[in-house]
Each structure stands twice: as structure tokens, then as C-alpha cells.
């Protein structure tokens, strides 16, 4: 290493101390015991992991996976056409479209979630509107339902999906589309065989971001869902605040990270095989 490259050391040290070491401690803690008062006891065991296989927590985790997958799929279906439209607009509309989809990324998700409380509550905007136009007589219970949580998650993470897909669309080789059209391919066929496979990386990035963020997001469930719609992140958060069972919280965190990696790998494989099929089909 040259002397000048020593300036990388402070950052390495910083990330070592505040990122790597804390995570290693969490891994270690997931194998620890716990005393009556909630203190952590040094006693290596698998109790915390065994507790996860309790039907209660398995059920919650299954619900979490379903919610995260649903959120990812809905975000993808809603975002792709939007990203496509922006990427294929004229320069001016493209700039504005990009700014408009970027802005929500920088507005606190807490605030954006709270906005839905204003809209969905019993005396909220949506209920009042529906009553005013005579569609319903009594206000609907929309807040504190699973639907509200799903809506909140989709709303929160849409920018995470639009932007990577936009970047992929923007960077793709557009000459291939011209070639396809010259060779007589319909625009739908060209989209299916060229645009979609070429924007795979964007779909991948967006989906991973949305999936992992949804699983880790306890605020949306907290604010828009009732007590019954608790997700795994709410359980984890509770272990570190109210319940004070750090080893169990740590074990759940490790399980969260590992299953996320598995989901990403599965998704990656699904995407590659689809791509291969497309290639072979020609």
C-alpha cells in the first residue's frame, strides 16, 4: 500500500467499529441466554432460535413474507409502466418526471405514512367523500386493517422501484429496438424479448430494495395496522424496547437477514432462467 492510500484507514476503522463489530455482537447475542430481569447471560444455546419455531412466530413471519412479496409485485406492476413512460418521453418531460418520482424518496416515510391516516380514518377524507357522493351511509373501517398496511407499504416504497427501473431503461441499448423493428418484430414482441430482459438489473435492484425494506419496516404496520397486523419487524422492535429479550430479537434479526438473502437468491434464479428461456426461444 502506498503511503497516500493510508487515508482510507479512518473510514475502515469507523465502519469496523460502528458497523461490523455491532453486527458480530448481534450474531453472538443470538446464542446467549437471558435472566429473569431481562439481562443477557453468557450461556451459549439455541433457545432463541428454537423459540422462533413456535407457531405464533412462524405465522407472523409467513404473514410478513406474504406482505413483502405482495408489496414488491404491486410496486413492480405499478412502477414499470411509469418508469417506461418517463424514460421514453422527450428530454424536458423526462427531467421533470424524474424529479417528481425522486422527491417522495426524500420525504420522510413517517410523514408519508401519516398522510394515509388523514385519508383513511373514520372521519377522514376518503370516508367523507364517499358519504358525500352517497356511495355509503356509514363510514368504512379502512384504517387499522391489513389492506391499509399493504397500501402504506406500496406507497412508501414505490420510488425504490421506479428509479432503478428508470436507470436500466435509460441505459439500455436502444439500437436493438430499431433492429427488431427493422426485422419486422411487433412493438410488443420487441418489448418482451429486448426491453424486458435488458432491464432485468433494474427490476432486480428495485425488487430487492422493496422486499427487504418492507420486511424491515415496522412503522407502517405500527401506524396503519392494528395490533393484529404485527409483522416480524414489530416483534423484533418489541424485543429491543418493551419486552427486552435481546437474544430473541437478535436471533429474529439473523433469521430476517438470512431469509432475505435466500429470497434474493431465489428471485435472482427466477430472473436468470426466464432470461435463458427467452434466448432459447429464438
Amino acid at each position: 500500500m502506498r503511503k497516500s492510500s493510508l487515508s482510507v484507514l479512518p473510514v475502515v476503522l469507523w465502519l469496523g467499529v460502528f458497523l461490523v463489530v455491532p453486527m458480530l455482537i448481534v450474531v453472538g447475542m443470538s446464542f446467549m441466554g437471558r435472566d429473569q430481569a431481562g439481562g443477557v447471560v453468557f450461556d451459549i444455546n439455541l433457545t432463541s432460535y428454537a423459540r422462533f419455531f413456535d407457531s405464533l412466530y412462524l405465522g407472523i413471519y409467513w404473514d410478513t413474507i406474504v406482505l413483502s412479496v405482495l408489496t414488491t409485485v404491486i410496486c413492480l406492476v405499478l412502477s414499470y409502466p411509469l418508469a417506461y413512460y418517463i424514460a421514453n418521453s422527450g428530454p424536458k418531460r423526462q427531467t421533470w418526471g424524474l424529479i417528481l418520482v425522486t422527491i417522495p424518496f426524500w420525504i420522510n416515510f413517517l410523514i408519508r405514512t401519516y398522510a394515509w391516516v388523514l385519508l383513511l380514518r373514520t372521519q377522514g377524507v376518503v370516508n367523507n367523500l364517499l358519504i358525500d357522493i352517497g356511495l355509503i351511509q356509514e363510514p368504512l373501517q379502512m384504517l387499522y386493517t391489513r389492506g391499509a398496511v399493504l397500501l402504506g407499504m406500496v406507497y412508501t416504497f414505490i420510488p425504490f422501484m421506479v428509479l432503478p427501473i428508470y436507470v436500466a431503461l435509460e441505459q439500455m441499448d436502444k439500437k436493438l429496438l430499431e433492429a427488431a423493428s427493422d426485422l419486422g418484430a411487433s412493438s410488443w414482441r420487441a418489448f418482451w424479448h429486448i426491453t424486458l430482459p435488458q432491464t432485468k438489473s433494474g427490476i432486480m435492484t428495485g425488487s430487492v430494495l422493496v422486499y427487504v425494506s418492507t420486511t424491515g419496516m415496522f412503522v407502517v404496520t405500527d401506524i396503519l395496522g392494528g395490533a393484529k397486523s404485527a409483522m416480524i419487524s414489530n416483534v423484533i422492535q418489541a424485543q429491543f424496547s418493551g419486552a427486552r429479550d435481546w437474544p430473541f430479537g437478535s436471533a429474529l434479526s439473523i433469521i430476517f437477514v438470512i431469509t432475505s438473502l435466500i429470497m434474493i437468491a431465489l428471485f435472482n434464479r427466477a430472473m436468470t432462467s426466464r432470461h435463458l428461456r427467452v434466448k432459447e426461444g429464438r
Binding site: 424529479i99 422527491i103 405514512t113 401506524i223 429491543f240
Partner: protein, 268 residues
């Protein structure tokens, strides 16, 4: 390049914009609504903003947020910029590893980062407070600064620096008069983004804050869990305006130069 798009795509995109912005618009509108409870519009008022600034707890949260944001921005901007500069001099293998490490804070879910820092600080008996929030914020902010500055560095090439070197400029002179002015927009934009992220962070602060170190997002969370209130609408409106202004400013600074390749401020 403009290609033909189906008109339905335009309609869908318009509806998406309505979906994205309508809830935010309602918060802003309600912050000026004179009725405390009703969902209907009952006249324009600035009362909620006045009440907000008379609320001692809001002022305290604001000052905590600003202290945390300023300190963490300064430190993370220095660390992130140093990382971006020194990465160029590393051997390829080492650079790949370092790049991975520097991206970690962006990739790791906030909840995991928050709780692991809580565990770390507790293990070392560091009491939760402004200091722990600052340390946590520096950790994720330095990655964002690194990304913006290193993209800028990659876009500028090495010719000018080599020319300065050939003309007899020393390492410091080259850095001070050639490299630094060129990456300055990246550094400023990175700092603005770090400031915004720090001001907005809830998830990580939630785990590492103490009773006397409530920041604005933590205060908002506490209020929101109790239900809606016009003061919170006003506070949210202020935070929205500040964040959006800072980020648009960062974007403007980054892409102001003519002939500069358009650079995104997002890490992907």
C-alpha cells in the same frame, strides 16, 4: 430519445403522480385549515404554525435534530470524501472489498443497523443520547457522501491531475488547486444529502436515542401514534419543504456545470 408510447401509459403515469402526491398535498392543506377536528375545509389559518413554535418540546426536538444533523454532516462529509479520494489509489482487489464495505450501510436494513448499534452502545456503557445518534448518523451518512463524491471523481478523469503533476505541482498543490475544485460540487451535494438524511432519519435514531434526545422524527412518531393533530400537519409540512428544498439544491449544484455528465444523487 423519444419513442412512441401508448396513450394509456401517459394516463397511468398521471394517475401515479396523483397517487404519489395527493396524500402529501392533504397534509400541507390541512396544516392551514382553521378547524381542529373536521376533515372539511373551514378557512385559512397560520395558527398551527404559531402554536408549533410556542411548543417547548418541538423547539427542543428541533434543536436536537439540528445539532445531530450539523455534526454528523461535517464528520461524514470529511470521512466520505477521504474514502472516495483514497479508494482511487488502492489495488483493484482491495478496492472491490472496500467498495462492498462502504455500500453496506446503504444495503443493511435500517432496523438491523439501529438495533445492532443499540447493542454496541449498551455493551460499552455509552448512555443513549445525542452522541449515540450522531455516531449512528455518521455511519450511514458517510456511505452516501462516498457514493456522490466517488461518482464525481470517476467522471472527471485523471488528465488534469497528471497535467498538473507534469507541470511540477506537488501532491498537495495538485489536490488543492486541481482535484478539490473539481469535486467540490460533489462534496457540497453529498453534505446536503447527509444533512437531509440525518434530519429525516427515524428508524436508526429510534433505537439509539435517549429520553432527553428526542429528534423531530421521533417527536412526530410519538404524536402520530396518538392520532392526528393540526400542529403535526404543520410540522410535517415544514419538514417536507426543508427536505425537498435541500435535495433539489443538491441536485442543482451537482448538475450545474455545462457539459457535465448528468449525475444522480441516488445510490443506485
Amino acid at each position: 430519445m423519444k419513442t412512441k408510447t401508448h396513450p394509456l401509459l401517459g394516463v397511468h403515469s398521471l394517475l401515479m403522480m396523483v397517487f404519489i402526491y395527493m396524500p402529501i398535498a392533504f397534509i400541507i392543506a390541512y396544516s392551514f385549515n382553521s378547524s381542529r377536528l373536521a376533515a372539511d375545509w373551514s378557512g385559512f389559518t397560520l395558527d398551527w404554525y404559531v402554536l408549533l413554535f410556542q411548543n417547548r418540546r418541538v423547539i427542543e426536538a428541533l434543536s436536537n435534530s439540528l445539532i445531530v444533523a450539523v455534526v454528523s454532516t461535517v464528520v461524514s462529509t470529511i470521512l466520505g470524501t477521504m474514502a472516495a479520494l483514497s479508494m482511487r489509489k488502492l489495488k483493484r482487489k482491495l478496492r472491490a472489498g472496500m467498495g462492498g464495505l462502504l455500500y453496506l450501510p446503504i444495503i443493511i436494513p435500517d432496523i438491523i443497523m439501529g438495533l445492532s448499534l443499540l447493542v454496541l452502545f449498551t455493551q460499552f456503557n455509552i448512555p443513549m443520547g445525542k452522541l449515540t445518534i450522531i455516531l449512528a448518523h455518521i455511519t450511514f451518512n458517510l456511505s452516501y457522501v462516498y457514493v456522490v463524491v466517488s461518482t464525481r471523481l470517476a467522471g472527471m478523469g485523471k488528465q488534469l491531475e497528471e497535467a498538473a503533476n507534469d507541470l511540477g505541482a506537488g501532491a498537495w498543490q495538485t489536490f488543492r488547486y486541481v482535484t478539490l475544485p473539481q469535486i467540490m460540487p460533489g462534496i457540497v451535494a453529498g453534505a446536503l444529502i447527509a444533512f437531509t438524511l440525518s434530519l429525516d432519519d427515524f428508524m436508526i435514531s429510534f433505537f439509539v436515542s435517549g429520553p432527553s434526545s428526542t429528534t423531530l422524527p421521533i417527536y412526530i412518531y410519538g404524536q402520530v401514534k396518538r392520532g392526528i393533530s393540526p400542529e403535526i400537519n404543520a410540522l410535517c409540512t415544514i419538514l417536507i419543504v426543508v427536505s425537498v428544498t435541500l435535495v433539489l439544491l443538491a441536485q442543482y449544484i451537482l448538475n450545474r456545470g455545462k457539459g457535465q455528465k448528468k449525475q444522480s444523487i441516488l445510490p443506485f
